[in-house]
């Protein structure tokens, strides 16, 4: 028996075109590849063929079988895909995912950490000091004279209780973090480089820009050869890290009893970029911190030998910098702790 492969091929192709589901595909498979299918017949009939015809027939039968097998597999994949598509279950990916709630660090803590981190990278060590201070540490040791206005009850909170260690020594709520310098120097010998963050207190009536409690960071670096140029170097690096490399800044002579020379540092106003606006009072500059070279009287007060050391010190207000950085206009917001505020940062 001989087979007309050309014709069979045409028939197969035609039938293939018509298959539209898996049942039809299965009968198609049985018809050709089944135990009693056409291909089986073909192989069975090979034995009756002559030696010459056999190879060609065999080859053609193989080709046909492969073609059909490949087709069936492909078709099956298509049907399976269609099936999956039909049975697909949806996930609405636009519904919000479940966020495990993570708390918010208070923006003042964030700012303090950011600033302390910069100083730590420069080699400073972070220390803390008490808020209830002796008058000596808060004023006297810092070369603030007995009759200085800042010692008035108008400018400093006094405690009813007196210092238990020293008779008649008044206790105050520190009005700046500078007494931290005194504590460090009394305890350690230079070289020392330290920053001291913490709360400070002044009897200011509360309004949008005043608070009786606020935060400062104090810095102190003492060694045998600290220069004014070091002060400028450290402060410049610090402020540029905090506010960006392109920051414009200036050092303006100022007066603090515990530093000499003393300076105030201004940065170009973030709002008008130095042109002058209402935020910077038309000057184009914002006062950001105070600094200077440690006054020899301060070294004397902590008992360092005369002329042996020089040092630099600086202090800055955390709330002010935070307000400038984030555009917060009311200092009271920091302590009101409205959760909508706390959770913004």
């Amino acid at each position: 028996m001989s087979w007309n492969f050309e014709e069979i091929n045409i028939t197969v192709q035609k039938e293939i075109q018509e298959i539209s589901d898996e049942i039809q595909l299965e009968s198609f498979r049985i018809k050709y590849l089944g135990r009693k299918g056409l291909i089986a017949d073909m192989y069975a009939s090979l034995s009756s063929l002559s030696k010459e015809e056999k190879p060609l027939m065999g080859k053609n039968a193989n080709i046909l079988r492969n073609t059909i097998t490949t087709f069936i597999e492909e078709k099956k994949k298509v049907f399976r895909a269609e099936q999956k598509k039909a049975n697909r279950s949806f996930i609405d990916v636009t519904i919000p995912g479940m966020e495990h709630s993570v708390g918010h660090k208070h923006i003042l803590t964030q700012t303090i950490e950011e600033m302390c981190d910069i100083f730590e990278k420069l080699g400073f060590v972070v220390q803390e000091g008490p808020e209830v201070e002796t008058e000596f540490n808060n004023f006297t040791a810092l070369n603030i004279p007995e009759d200085h206005p800042s010692r008035d009850g108008f400018d400093t909170f006094y405690l009813e209780q007196k210092d238990s260690n020293q008779k008649d020594q008044n206790l105050v709520l520190r009005s700046h973090t500078s007494p931290g310098q005194i504590r460090i120097m009394k305890e350690y010998k230079p070289p020392l480089a330290v920053v001291i963050p913490g709360k400070v207190y002044r009897p200011d009536a509360v309004d949008a820009s005043h608070s009786f409690m606020f935060h400062q960071i104090e810095g102190l670096f003492v060694d045998t050869d600290v220069k004014f140029s070091d002060l400028k170097g450290i402060i410049t690096v610090f402020l540029k890290k905090l506010f960006g490399r392109d920051l414009e800044m200036r050092y303006r002579p100022h007066f603090f009893p515990f530093t000499e020379p003393s300076a105030e540092v201004d940065i170009a106003c973030y709002l008008c970029k130095g042109k002058g606006c209402s935020v910077c009072g038309r000057s184009g500059w914002l006062e950001i911190m105070g600094c200077g070279m440690v006054h020899p009287k301060v070294f004397e007060a902590v008992g360092y030998p005369k002329g042996k050391y020089s040092g630099l010190a600086f202090g800055l207000g955390v709330e002010r910098i935070t307000m400038l950085k984030y555009g917060i206009h009311d200092i009271r917001m920091f302590f009101e702790n409205d959760m909508r505020f706390v959770r913004q940062f």
Binding site: E128, D147, D152, F157, K189, F221, D230, R250, R343
Partner: protein, 676 residues
């Protein structure tokens, strides 16, 4: 202080624009806060630092400008006046309050409008012109910095000037038409009968110079800055004079100012000097400080390369006497009005600020490793922050000053805060002895604003007579994290806050912290615990009493609060950590369901288990608690599982059973528990 550019030009040529000058003044430490134009003149508003009272006048500023711009200056010639031998009747009773008083009597002065140029100078800086005499005293004040006052001599009773403290109940009507009550803390100028001026602050209305005045007494004096400052505060009254006295007027200027005024009065209002007295109550120290400083010292301090002659030139322009004995060594004597210059560093600052800080070099120093260590508590606190944040607690920062009633309102009347001697308001009269009022007020604020729940914590201080203590407080209210997949929202309870705290303590290295039931005044009975470590109480936690909440007007029932003394925590933390081998052998887990008397705590159950079991017991895991109908009254059911594991071998079922049986038996025998 306001200064006029045209006025300055009387003493020094400027030659640069007003804007440039303003910048240069600012950068030399005389900050120009505002610039405005007045009638063809430019006026600067300056902020003068308290160490520079010498700059509170035109001549002082002109001196600074001459140094900054390196220009010569020219001050008005002071022709010597000859005075008659007659003395005024002046007595300084309060010697500490007034160190010098120069009184000059002039007769037949012509009270007229002031000459145009003086008027122009004064009005440019906002001083109203009154008459030639008054205007000249104001002019001289602004020019030299010496406050002056002219009295109508004929109205001074007995022609006598007495510098004394006011008597209790004395009154004076000042030039601003206000009647003011005085007291002995206030220094006054009086005649025989009454105070005629508040010393250094303002003159009296009754002795004012008016158009009818014929004879005047001109006062030029030096008053104690502290007395003046206190009087200013007490009377809430200040003036251009008091502003300068508070900051310090130079002793010598008393004479200069008087001289200048007398010359101007003679030229502008005629008048003849008929009597004069210069009364000093204290000898003025005449020793002039000599400060020796070398070029190298200056450069070492600033990191600069300034020559000796540069420094010398700057100092001379500022009227310092400078002598150079040795090469590059200067001996410097500051002028008498520069009381702020006391030692070498003060001289360095003068040089630095005139050169300009921005023109000085900068470098980043090498900071040596110091013997001082990073404060260990900082790392622990950072850890605590992170752990609470990770558990969904928001950080708050609250005022540490509160009122005593707030403590009482929080059920802690037994606690006494540290009292402030000079509180601003009674709301901030004490330093808090507890964090509870602070957190309750945060809760109240937020609830009032419609916040449903909150989980907050603060690391702050509480204060007591012995000192201040770093303290942790946490508060939790409302619902657990919202989960839309669950039908019901779950309320936070005791175990949420306990779990948070427990986890933090464990993770910072306080593995042995424990909780035991104990009542506290602020918590609902039976719903609070004490936190302990090594037999030391470190904190409390529980459910806040409803009474307290209603006193605070907080309309929420379940508020959980904990406060932990961090000073104690810091002391008990074990910093070093060691690796524990991971168990390689399989574990056997056995559940126990137990009915125990209600008052028996899980802690007791655990204690017995650990006492009776052997080292093969590895952990106990609490699984469930049930109360209710299915259980005998007075009992509750607890289910937990015991995990048995050995690090050396695989445990045999039988050996686990032996231990487990023993445990169960002990629980039954010792606690009267029932195995279910």
């Amino acid at each position: 202080m306001k200064i006029s550019l045209n006025w300055l030009k009387d003493y020094v040529s400027i030659g640069i624009s007003a804007d440039k000058l303003a910048h240069k003044l600012t950068m030399a430490g005389l900050e120009v806060e505002k610039t405005f134009s007045v009638d063809g003149d430019t006026v600067f508003e300056l902020e003068i630092t308290p160490n520079r009272p010498d700059c509170l006048n035109m001549m002082g500023i002109a001196r600074e400008i001459s140094a900054i711009l390196n220009k010569t200056k020219e001050f008005p010639q002071m022709r010597k006046l000859s005075f008659p031998n007659n003395r005024c009747n002046i007595s300084i009773e309060d010697k500490a309050g007034c160190s010098r008083y120069i009184g000059t009597v002039m007769e037949d002065v012509h009270i007229e409008p002031t000459s145009v140029w003086i008027k122009k100078r004064l009005t440019s800086i906002g001083i109203r012109s009154i008459n030639n005499i008054v205007d000249i005293t104001n002019f001289c004040l602004m020019e030299t910095g010496q406050p002056l006052h002219a009295f109508d001599y004929d109205k001074i009773s007995g022609g006598k000037i007495i510098v004394r403290r006011a008597k209790k109940g004395e009154k004076i009507v000042t030039l601003d038409d206000e009647e003011r009550e005085l007291d002995p803390s206030i220094l006054v100028i009086a005649d025989e009968k009454r105070p005629i001026a508040i010393a250094g602050i303002m003159g009296g209305k009754e002795t004012e110079v008016t158009v009818e005045t014929k004879n005047i007494l001109l006062e030029s004096a030096h008053f104690n800055p502290i007395l003046i400052r206190r009087a200013v505060r007490k009377l809430a009254l200040s003036s251009d004079s008091s502003y300068r006295f508070e900051r310090g007027v130079d002793y010598d200027t008393v004479e200069v100012g008087a001289q200048r005024a007398l010359l101007l009065i003679r030229n502008n209002a005629k008048g003849t000097i008929i009597a004069r007295s210069d009364v000093s109550s204290r000898r003025q120290k005449t020793t002039k400080p000599k400060i020796v400083i070398s070029k190298d010292q200056i450069n070492a301090y600033l990191g600069t390369d300034i020559t000796a002659s540069q420094s010398k030139n700057i100092l001379k322009k500022l009227d310092f006497e400078v002598a150079a004995h040795k090469k590059d060594v200067l001996t410097v004597t500051p002028p008498p009005w520069r009381k702020d210059i006391k030692q070498d560093v003060d001289v360095v600052e003068e040089v630095a600020r005139i050169i300009g800080y921005d023109n000085l070099p900068l470098r980043l120093p090498q900071i040596q490793v110091t013997q001082m260590l990073q404060s260990p508590t900082r790392a622990i606190k950072k850890n605590i922050y992170e752990l609470f944040l990770a558990q969904g607690f928001d950080e708050v920062i609250t005022y540490t000053m509160i009122s005593q009633p707030l403590i009482e309102k929080s059920g802690q009347a037994e606690l006494k805060g540290l009292k402030i001697r000079n509180p601003l308001t009674c709301d901030q009269e004490i330093l808090r002895p507890s964090m509870l009022p602070s957190l309750l007020s945060i809760l109240q604020t937020n609830i009032n604003k419609g916040q449903k729940g909150l989980k907050i914590f603060e690391i702050g201080k509480v204060y007591e007579a012995k000192g201040e203590k770093e303290t942790l407080a946490i508060m939790a209210v409302g619902q657990r994290d919202r989960d839309w997949r669950k039908l019901k929202q779950e309320e936070l309870d005791f175990y949420d806050i306990k779990g948070a705290l427990q986890q933090v303590l464990k993770r910072i290295g306080l593995k042995d912290a424990y909780f035991y039931g104990e009542d506290h005044s602020i918590f609902e009975e039976g719903k609070s615990a004490t936190v302990g470590i090594n037999n030391k109480e470190i904190g409390v936690m529980g459910e806040i009493k409803e009474d307290i909440l209603s006193d605070w007007d907080i309309k929420i029932k379940k508020v959980y609060f904990a406060q932990v003394n961090l000073e104690e925590v810091f002391g008990h933390i074990k910093m070093e950590q060691k690796y524990h081998p991971l168990g390689e052998y399989p574990s056997v887990v056995r559940d126990i369901s137990l009915a125990v008397k209600e008052e028996i705590s899980f802690q007791q159950v655990q204690d017995i288990i650990f006492q009776t079991s052997s080292e093969i017991l590895s952990t106990i895991e609490f699984k469930e608690q049930y109360l209710g109908d299915k259980i005998t009254q007075g009992f509750r059911g607890i289910i937990f599982s015991l995990k048995y594991q050995s690090l050396e071998r695989t445990l045999r079922e039988e050996e686990v059973s032996i231990v487990h049986e023993k445990v169960c038996k002990a629980l039954v025998n010792e606690l009267g528990a029932e195995i279910r």
